[in-house]
């Protein structure tokens, strides 16, 4: 187990290192150098040089990279170009806001999707099952941001039930009730767009398990059908579902980017788009890295979780059989 964790962690560190290389390389591949457009226009060549020197831009690229990496490892993300604000100060609050939005949407998705999928697996081709597959077809083809816009039009503008956008109303900063009202629409968008996939997935996983021989054995033992489903099948069916969910977790975080923009939610995704438009490369690099870290940790967690739920998986060595 420990060996496995160490191996996986080392692998992850390697991938992270490559990501720093790729992002750094990408940004320095920009036409005219990365910070060209950051410098105030109309500066004299001399002034430009001085500024570039101050920013360390006149050093060779590998040096710049090492310098940047060194600061990064010390937790120093650097400063924005425009107003020279510490990047960490900009990013951390948005991480918290994204976390609020995503965790609510994600929990809601799971709470609905898994029971629904399981129910559908026991009632294949029922109305409930068919509506789930209808939703999934639509869900895969529909742009999430469009769905958000439509919800805004109906529920904020026409009916005026929920606030149109933002996280809090003016001068209601920090009030839970107000936050809840603001959460409803974006959470609905996220939940509905993720729902179909998970319903389908848990249904299919359950169907596959219900087809297994050991389910027949359980029935032959005289186990009640309800208990067959919830005791014998569920745990087996959840194994792949849990792994997929853990693997998807970071993607869900990223998936919020569009929804955050639609609802003007002050999260990481919106910050990323704003910074992209403003060409604040250092912030983009920092967020990209942060998300990569989340993704990699998610993958690692998925593997560990798998080993916990499934006795067949013995981490670190191949599952041999005794006797």
């Amino acid at each position: 187990m420990t060996e496995f964790i160490i191996r996986r962690t080392l692998q992850s560190v390697l991938v992270l290192f490559l990501i720093t290389l790729v992002t750094f390389g990408l940004i320095h591949a920009a036409p005219g150098g990365p910070f060209q457009m950051m410098l105030a226009p109309g500066l004299s060549p001399e002034a430009m040089e001085i500024q570039a020197h101050n920013m360390g831009l006149d050093k060779p690229l590998p040096m710049q990279y090492l310098h940047w990496l060194g600061n990064l490892l010390q937790g120093d993300l650097g400063y924005t170009f425009k107003n020279h604000v510490p990047i960490g100060d900009i990013i951390w609050p948005t991480v918290k806001n994204t976390f609020v939005l995503m965790s609510v949407a994600w929990l809601l998705t799971l709470l609905i999707a898994i029971p629904w999928g399981i129910y559908n697996s026991t009632k294949v081709y029922s109305l409930s099952d068919q509506s789930a597959s209808f939703i999934s077809y639509i869900g895969f083809a529909m742009p999430t941001f469009w769905f958000g816009i439509i919800l805004q039009q109906i529920f904020s503008i026409k009916l005026d039930w929920f606030p149109l956008s933002d996280m809090y109303s003016m001068d209601k900063e920090g009030q839970i009730g107000d936050l809840m009202m603001h959460l409803i629409l974006p959470v609905t968008v996220l939940t509905l767009s993720f729902l179909a996939g998970y319903v389908k997935y848990s249904r299919a996983s359950m169907l596959e398990v219900l087809d297994q021989d050991y389910i027949r054995t359980a029935r032959a033992k005289g186990v009640r059908e309800g208990k067959v489903v919830y005791k014998h099948a569920l745990r087996n069916a959840l194994i792949p579902v849990i792994t997929i969910i853990a693997l998807d977790l970071p993607l869900l975080v990223a998936g919020a980017a569009l929804t955050e923009n639609v609802f003007n939610w002050p999260g990481m995704g919106r910050l990323f788009v704003q910074m992209a438009v403003a060409r604040e490369y250092s912030v983009l690099m920092a967020i990209t890295l942060l998300i990569a870290v989340i993704v990699i940790i998610g993958n690692l967690l998925a593997d560990l979780l798998y080993a916990v739920v499934d006795p067949r998986v013995q981490l670190g060595r191949k599952g041999g059989r005794s006797a």
């Binding site: 490559l18 591949a29 895969f140 083809a141 805004q152 299919a204 993607l251 998936g255 980017a257 990209t288």
Partner: protein
């Protein structure tokens, strides 16, 4: 045996089946696939809908007399049907129907060129990696790891922010972030083929390995590659609309459904319907493409277990469209 016979053979009594002589030449895989595809109502309606959009995009100048980019504030926000403006005009007096038609050009161009481009790149990378193995393969696998650790939408935004939001850059970026699945598929087939007898035989008589394997590869995995490409068309259209919506894709005076939605959101108090049309276009086109992909898949390998295949597909398109 004609196609009609094939269809009904399941109910012909055994005796009769035995009396029918075996086929001299079975219909080719493409013909069988097509005859199956033709009988799939979803796939066929998808094909019809896609054809309508392709027709609209190709003949846009003949289908509307208006210039989609022509701003005329005198005629802003006209109701549908006034002055021959089929769907009215937007806040700048541009004809909405014309914009929708010309947007179809952009979306379909993006969709198809990204699909073709990533199939080409993916096939090449996969073939090289699968054929040479060893260090090259390891490098490629790590690259895929890195690519998969950054949510694709973020990667797209990052690159567009760096290189600028030009149409050609967007297509290149989308290709560079979509080739992985094809590459993995081709690599897998290559690894399989490399072990096969006839490759050994060919090596013995001194025929170039790569050529032989490549030819077999095209024969063996062209169908899955086509299915993959179909799905990519839909995913690319969704990505393009998302990027344009965020302001990092298509820029005025060009027009795209995503860009239209971004405008429409600003003016949704004035004209809520403006946000409806482009969204429906995206939804319908992507749905059509997905149906076609499904249809091709169903017509190609009927033996593969339904649940497994669907599962895989759902996952793929799920991840693609949400990130």
């Amino acid at each position: 045996m004609s196609e009609a016979n094939l269809q009904t053979s399941a109910v012909i009594p055994q005796v009769e089946v035995q009396s029918v002589k075996p086929l001299k030449r079975p219909p080719g895989p493409w013909r069988t696939a097509w005859s199956k595809f033709r009988r799939n109502p979803y796939a066929m309606s998808g094909l019809v809908i896609l054809s309508i959009f392709v027709f609209g995009a190709l003949f846009a100048p003949w289908l509307t007399k208006y210039d989609p980019a022509k701003i005329d504030l005198m005629f802003a926000n006209l109701k549908a049907g006034t002055d021959g403006h089929l769907l009215g005009t937007d806040e700048m007096g541009r004809d909405i129907f014309a914009r929708l038609l010309y947007s179809a050009r952009i979306s379909l161009t993006v969709g198809f060129s990204v699909a073709i481009g990533s199939v080409l790149i993916g096939t090449m990378v996969g073939a090289i990696s699968g054929f040479f193995g060893g260090f090259i393969d390891t490098c490629f696998m790590r690259l895929v790891d890195v690519m998969n650790s950054i949510p694709l939408l973020f990667l797209n935004i990052l690159v567009l922010a760096i290189f600028g939001t030009e149409f050609r850059y967007m297509i290149i970026v989308l290709i560079l972030t979509s080739w992985m699945s094809v590459a993995r598929l081709v690599r897998g087939t290559f690894l399989q083929l490399r072990e096969m007898q006839y490759v050994e035989a060919a090596r013995a008589i001194g025929v170039s390995n790569f050529g032989i394997i490549f030819r077999h590869l095209l024969r063996n995995s062209s169908f899955p590659i086509i299915v993959n490409a179909t799905l990519m068309v839909g995913a690319a259209i969704l990505s393009e609309s998302a990027l344009s919506y965020l302001g990092l894709g298509i820029q005025a005076p060009q027009t795209s459904w995503g860009l239209m939605l971004s405008n429409a959101q600003e003016f949704m108090l004035v004209d809520p319907l403006q946000a409806v049309y482009p969204g429906i276009c995206i939804l319908v086109v992507v749905l059509a493409v997905n149906f076609i992909g499904d249809g091709i898949q169903d017509s190609l390998n009927p033996r593969q277990k339904m649940s497994e295949r669907r599962l895989d597909r759902w996952r793929k398109s799920f991840l693609k469209s949400k990130i």
